[in-house]
């Protein structure tokens, strides 16, 4: 949920509750005031009635329905009776419904007799007023809420605009590109701070990325040069026709190790570069023809080992990526299959719906196959294998968000890349 929507909803909700509560409070206050007024009126009426009592004889109720009734009561009742008010409901003939009334029950002594006096008056006014108050409060409520909502929406949108622009800029920010970060100016202190912080952060990141890139390249350079010298020297050494076999074997071993070191350096450098996303440029890459070409390149191996290669080129796979990296990915997979398939084995390559699947005959791998993606995990007993091939594959997949999948069962090894 967007911040603005949420804050708007919360403030609207709070306002709604506040208005309802205050409406109820006003209603309650008004009711009390009106009730007091009515009670006072009832008292006045009592005085009026008492004043109009006949000086002789007993007071009588009028025949016509009046707002009061007088009942003679015994002395003990008179003593027990206390003056009080009551809310009652009376059936009104005209309206044909029950209406709320308020009555005062009191007593008086007249010419030695005791009487109970009951005066009532309609509360209809109060009810009407309540209705009016409720209705008007509701309208005011609705109006206020709507107003607040609109103001919030428009104002906040305006206030937060620079924030959203900054966000958009950040979304498009690429540490490997030089395009400057254009943070919009804002008159709000917090957003000025944000712009400042973000710009600094971006610049620092860009610099450290550049430094890292530089370092990685320089490190490679520094390591490759002595390796190149050493390797060239060994190559010259073995040209000596008087070389003893013993020495030749030592040089052979030396060369092997130097070459291994060099390959390691290259592979680790490549993985670092991929993980640092130093292969920025993306282009449309057609995978199918690349797969076919790389398979053909390995043809001589197939001949050697008498491998059976089956290619199912079902659907074109086109990806947005760096062509060089995709080639490394595919080459690693294909060479992996060729190298690890035993003689007279079968390799099946299948391309369909953005999916490249390679199956080859192989001894079943025990345990977790996913571990093969980790650096330096080897299954083969080939002494020289670096165990980095699949790690490179994994790095490339991670860089582009592809899903690699490995399975090994029934003398078959399967790797599938979901592009």
């Amino acid at each position: 949920m967007r911040l603005l929507t949420r804050s708007n909803l919360i403030s609207t909700f709070v306002l709604l509750i506040a208005l309802v509560v205050s409406g109820l409070y006003i209603y309650d206050q008004v009711c009390e005031e009106v009730r007091d007024e009515i009670d006072e009126e009832l008292q006045n009426r009592k005085l009026e009635i008492l004043a109009s009592l006949p000086t002789q004889g007993t007071p009588e109720n009028s025949i016509v329905k009046a707002d009061f009734r007088i009942e003679p009561i015994s002395h003990s009742d008179y003593k027990k009776l206390k003056e009080h008010y009551e809310d009652i409901e009376v059936y009104e003939l005209i309206e044909k419904e029950v209406e709320p009334h308020r009555q005062l029950i009191t007593k008086f002594k007249h010419q030695g007799n005791y009487y109970r006096l009951q005066i009532e008056t309609s509360l209809l006014d109060l009810e009407d007023m309540g209705e009016v108050i409720t209705r008007s409060t509701a309208w005011v409520c609705l109006g206020l809420v709507l107003l607040a909502f609109l103001v919030n929406l428009l104002l906040q949108k305006r206030l937060w605009r620079s924030f959203y622009q900054t966000l958009e800029q950040l979304r498009n920010f690429r540490v490997d590109r030089q395009d400057p970060l254009v943070i919009p100016q804002s008159s709000i202190y917090e957003f000025q701070e944000l712009a400042q912080t973000v710009s600094t952060l971006a610049e620092v990141n860009r610099k450290s990325y550049q430094q890292q890139k530089q370092f990685v390249e320089n490190a490679s350079h520094e390591i490759q040069t002595p390796l190149a010298i050493a390797l060239n020297q060994t190559e010259q050494l073995i040209q000596n026709p008087d070389l003893k076999e013993e020495d030749a074997l030592t040089i052979g071993l030396l060369t092997e190790q130097l070459e291994r070191l060099s390959a390691l350096n290259k592979a680790l450098l490549l993985i670092t570069k991929i993980n640092n996303q130093q292969f920025g440029e993306r282009e449309s890459v057609e995978v199918n023809p690349m797969v076919i070409r790389l398979i053909n390149e390995c043809e001589f191996l197939a001949e050697d080992k008498q491998l059976d290669i089956q290619v199912k080129d079902e659907e074109a796979i086109i990806v947005q990526a760096n062509e060089y990296l995709i080639e490394i990915l595919v080459r690693n997979l294909i060479r992996n299959a060729y190298v690890h398939t035993p003689e007279s084995g079968l390799i099946q390559v299948r391309m369909n719906s953005n999916q490249l699947e390679i199956r080859n005959t192989a001894t079943t791998i025990e345990g977790k196959t996913e571990a093969l993606f980790n650096r330096f995990t080897k299954q083969s007993t080939h002494r020289q294998s670096l165990g980095l091939g699949l790690s490179i594959v994994k790095s490339i997949c991670d860089a582009y968000g592809y899903q690699p999948e490995i399975a090994s069962a029934n003398e078959e090894f399967m790797i599938r890349i979901q592009f």
Binding site: H221, T225, A228, I238, L243, A267, S385
Partner: protein, 225 residues
Amino acid sequence: MKLLLIEDEPGLYQTISQFLITEGHVCELATTYEEAEEKIGVYAYDCVLIDIMLPGGNGLDLLKELKRTHKTTGAIVISAKDSLDDKLKGLDLGADDYLPKPFHLSELNARLRSVLRRLKFEGSDEMQVGSLTIDTTARTVFYEGKEVILNRKEFDLLLFFVTNQNRVIKKSALAEHVWGDNIDQADSYDFIYSQIKNLRKRFSQMGYELNIQTVYGIGYKFSPQ
């Protein structure tokens, strides 16, 4: 051939220039940007080997200058930065080849010969190796007037041996040459053995004994008869 080697690492330029001289070239050396700039400006070379990272400047700028003033001079960029950017930039600027360090001298030799052949410094496309006639453009091999049929890889392998005749070539150099660039595939040298066996078979079927000897299991050596 007259070559200029632009390289600042003593350990490297000593070996490389010594090697190039034994291969029968005249090899001059420049160890800084300024020195190289001067030599390129004054003398004409058949091919220049340029290292990218040099004291005093970038080798790619030298390449640009070279291609501007001496169009027909061959150029091979050698770099320790095995970066695709540099490779593409180098080839874009007119380099004839790009060789990442570390490289095998036999590989450098093969690339150099190939560049020189392409630029026709070595005369015709045909070369005579013992009793074999090899046409590098048509990629054909004849023995006593009869064609020896080879596939692409076999021809590459033969040419590599022929270019580096009488030298011991390391197995790894052969593997890389046939395999292309290789990362984490060092375990696959075994195929070299059968490749060479196949190559020998093609020639023995025609009655020619291809003289490739193994040298203590570390490499192979081809000597034409």
